[in-house]
Symmetry: C2
Subunit: 331 residues, 2 copies
DNA sequence: CTGTTAGCGCATTCAA
DNA sequence: TTGAATGCGCTAACAG
């Protein structure tokens, strides 16, 4: 637990020289530098970052607000954020909000109390209950939906879900069920819009009976599969708003002696790693998770650096991933 | 960005009184307290935790070293650690090591440089390449295997894998394949021992051909399934050392026209959430993930508090989870 | 190129 | 019960 003074003493120089040896080595003469480094070695010195950060009034940390970190999609995003942060000398403080405003407030307090310098918000924005944007707090939203009123990097969920539902239509499906996320979730709203648009464009009438409200978990997908299996007139295809619900639905359908894709076609959303290993592998939309995480962190870095951004919305491209869970409609 | 001085001035008291109002309110008179609180409100004061922590020489943060945080098992553990930490006023810094010593060193440096006060290590201990235990660094290992030379909370993996392989034996299986983790991984070693012991006790000769080395990922489980499907004499059951590999193996077997459990029985390990939603649902061993995380954090808290622990090893109980992936052997 | 010095925001002694 | 003063470890401004 030696400090800068101990090093200075040992090296026979001033503490300023020791400090410079770390932050501006080029401003220190060769001999001094060597003396300092030897002394550092000798006394086993490690700069106290708490003191350094305190002095420079920067915590070199950002909090990442994530609704649920057992969700593999967020896991991918967080990893990318983390890597970008580390490269730039920042740490991340993970805050799992579980849709609780109290928890969210708790974590935002970390930046109010200077334990963190900024926030990345991974929950989609909801105007009535969102704490961000917050005056004086640097924040960027990632993976959100339309209508985020501050810097955000996201996908076009309307276009993406249009694309995948349209694919089902192009395979001849007309009666297409949909397992949504929670009704008020902005992602649900955007993706539902894509779904409706694809139907409308194909001249298929929208039928509210064909909507099942899930919550993005496997178990809700399972419930959705059960729901559709009870129909007299079972939909020939189901659009699940994420891969986890797709996996749950596939399981439930099979329990009802309905095979995917022979009896019912299924599509998902996200392209999580396991989507390849379900049976059948899930045809889905890949969200550019890593790119979004990386970009979000880079933007936050700029914001914290006092830079002005010339865009508020950064839209990244989705990708259609064709696998095995869809078959053409056969009469 | 007002500071304690601004509050003191506004309240007409000294900064010492303001400070006390926060840390020892009972040592401040009622009127003073009110004046302070009003002033806090008026100037929008938030204590600067960086300064406070610096002053008290505690970061109130711990780093959690995790091999892979896209692994749902670790996710459960981390969540429990996180909750326990928050309750006690600590934050966690997540460090994904991906089995790289450099990264691990990087994160351990966070405590050497006083950005964190302790470490929880979730990778199993390997004597030749492990940075912990480290002199002067408070650390506890969680979810490890036998032979951790510092405070650890874990399960008995030998007993657990014995139990599940023994279950296969009791169902009449004699030719039992095994998809392991990496050969040198301590968990692989422990679980392999359980496997061998169960076989030995049943008088079944151990056959190295029946071992396939995976790495705990779905894709390696898939490779393992492929491997066993090529046998002339296909094993009637396979013990997969985690659920993810079990899911991959099930998929590969089915691609080879082998159904689980009709043609081959499968068991897993961990009891991840998705083990219920695979088809068939996986019979497995539940690791007490939450309990281990919580306990580990509690122990670390005690260590950081200067307390001596009266045990070095805390062993938690596993649980056998019966589902659908096993059928009796039918000659 | 180097040293002296002030001060970041706070908790904590010591007197009063 | 309160206030004045000190210093945690470091960086940065300034003078030399």
């Amino acid at each position: 637990m030696s400090n800068i003074r101990a090093v200075a003493k040992k090296a026979g120089v001033s503490i300023a020289t020791v400090s410079r040896a770390f932050t501006n080595p080029e401003k220190v003469s060769k001999p001094s530098l060597k003396k300092v480094m030897d002394a550092v070695e000798a006394v086993g010195y490690r700069p106290n970052m708490m003191a350094r950060n305190f002095r420079s009034a920067k915590a070199y940390a950002v909090v990442v607000l994530v609704p649920d970190f057992a969700n593999l999609f967020f896991t991918k995003v967080i990893r990318a954020i983390q890597e970008t942060a580390i490269k730039n000398g920042y740490n991340i403080l993970l805050g799992e909000t579980r849709d609780s405003m109290e928890r969210e407030a708790e974590y935002i307090k970390l930046v109010e109390t200077r334990q963190a310098d900024g926030v990345i918000q991974l929950s989609p924005h909801t105007p009535d209950r969102d704490l961000l944007p917050h005056p004086h707090i640097h924040a960027v939203a990632a993976c959100g939906a339309t209508g985020t009123p501050y810097t955000s990097v996201r996908m076009d969920h309307v276009a993406a879900s249009f694309a995948i539902v349209n694919y089902l239509v192009s395979m001849g499906h007309k009666r297409i069920g949909c397992i949504t996320g929670l009704e008020k979730n902005p992602h649900s709203i955007d993706r539902l819009e894509g779904y409706k648009t694809a139907l409308a464009q194909a001249g298929i009438e929208f039928d509210p009976e064909l909507l099942f409200e899930g919550d993005f978990t496997m178990s809700s997908g399972h419930a959705g599969g059960d729901y559709f299996a009870q129909f007299d007139n079972i939909p020939s295809a189901i659009f699940c708003m994420n891969d986890e619900m797709a996996a749950g639905a596939i399981k439930a359908l099979r329990e009802n002696n309905l095979n995917v894709p022979q009896d019912v076609s299924i599509v998902g959303f996200d392209d999580l790693a396991f989507a390849t290993y379900t049976d059948p592998a899930i045809t889905t939309i890949r969200q550019p998770a890593e790119e979004m995480g990386k970009k979000a962190m880079q933007l936050l870095l700029q914001l914290m650096d006092g830079k002005e951004l010339n865009q508020q919305e950064y839209i990244l491209k989705h990708e259609f991933v064709l696998r095995e869970s869809v078959q053409p409609y056969k009469g």
